[in-house]
Amino acid sequence: MAEVKEITIGDVAKRSVDTAEFEGETMALNIGPSHPTTHGVLRLKMQLDGDVIKHCEPVLGYLHRGDEKIAESMTYNQFVPYTDRLDYLAPLANNVTYAMAVEQLAQLEIPERCQAIRVLCCELARISSHLLGVGVYGMDAGAWTVFMYTFSQREKLYTLFEELTGARFTTSYTRIGGVARDIPDGWLGRVSKFCDQVLPVIDEVDTLLMRNRIFMERTAGIGVISREDALGYGLTGPNLRASGVDLDLRKDRPYCGYEKYDFDVPIGKNGDCYDRYLMRGEEIRQSVRIIRQVIEDFPDGAYYAEDAKKIFAPPKAKILTSMEELIQNFMIVTEGPRMPEGEVYFEAENPKGALGFFIVSKGGGVPYRLKIRGPSFCNLSILEKLLPGHYLTDVTVILGSLDFVMGECDR
């Protein structure tokens, strides 16, 4: 009988990383721009040593449309549809942020009802964006079922968006000084119903992923971003909070009446992929909390700033029946809303992070310069630092955890 001899080989993978055995033999690998894990058109140029990433250079710009140049050539209201296409997974939130930035320039007071509608828009957009983020993230990590759960919910949300704005995807709902139309009859009830049934689904998703051994092995401890790095690279939103920084513009610089609502801001501890996943599930629950409070105490009144005669075009029924409103509409369409001179920077807490608009106005209806600060652009800038040292298989998981969208990255 042959003698059985036991040998220990240890962690082979680790040894190949630690020793300089393969150093110098690097391989160039290109991912994207058109690749399912890049969630759009991001391209990564990488140098690999075996399975380990040594160097990574993200290449952007494949979705660059020159939005900032376009903004300089049209009136403030004309630009609203372009904001849909920034973070195209949460167009309503972009619309609201843009409108608020311009209103800040005009120092316009917005009626309570309009603010409540906008809060609803923002939070529904957040839920829709995070549902996609979580679902697709499961898919990135190899758990396909989650996607089916979250996407069927997102479909229901889109039906609500369609009822509100007339479009499922490119909503273009806000106008400078208000929103395009009031909420439809019974819509609040349907939103409320949606909230009731989305929560069990989030719990279901959690049971599928949160304590899933495979999912945890793939995400916990992977792609750790320290607090210092997160701040240094200008991360915002759930990605920043996952690294333990308590910053949520809804709490810290309340806008749109967010100070009236009671909600918690989830803060992560480790800043790894797992924490970033947990953030999104919890934020959906908090958004539902906010939505319920808004619906419970929904203000009456106008859905647009009635006294802003040189900014907001009145509703169609008034235009067709009254001379003054007809002229008002004509002036706003041809000249654009009348804006004072000045410089304004406004940021709001969007699903992906802080979306900012910097507007330089020289008066009149067309901005002189409009800069869009896309949160995904800043969130991705950390890739050069984050990816080296990780295995190639982790790239999918890390990219998915950052939950970026190239529309606002490339603008």
Partner: protein, 211 residues
Amino acid sequence: MEDATLVKLTETFDFLSVRASGDHSALNCPANKLFEVAQSLRDDFGFDLLVDVTGIDWDAASPRFSGVYHFFSTASHGYLRVVANCEDDINPQLPSISAIYPAANWHERETFDMLGIRYSGHPNLKRILMWDEYPYFPLRKEFPLAGIETDLPAPDVVETTQAKVKSAPMMGGPFVSTRSGPMSQAEPRARDESWTESEEKPTEPSDEAKR
């Protein structure tokens, strides 16, 4: 609270001046002192988050280019805008602050790409949104909205296909509004920039606009 920071800042650095602003605290800073100020903003004043870096082209005015920085403090939750004018109108230049705030790295690359402001001391100053060989700075005011016909980034493709990056057709839309001029001309309308027998081909911008 924001005002107190502003007072303290102008006391510490006497070359800073308060800038007119409708929203956040704002300062003008000489370009050569920018690095020093940014360092102090992060270390002494708690502005730990650089949220945005961009530039403005003031067209005919001089100084023509300004760099605009927005800082945020996670402690006081206040913003600070710092504006630095580029001394040279032809070759605008600013010091890079990417050594202090890594976030500035990509923002500065974008501003260089779009406006042609060069950041001295930047570790990797190349185009980020347009391709590397692109010859223009699209956000400069003289650059036409439709774009300019130019070569494709890949020379081998150009050789085989003779294809070029064409300027966008402007007939039928988008509806463009201009910032000045009489209302009959400024109102939103499709600006057809193509040429016919009666209308001449628009001239290309001068070499100055090129890189």
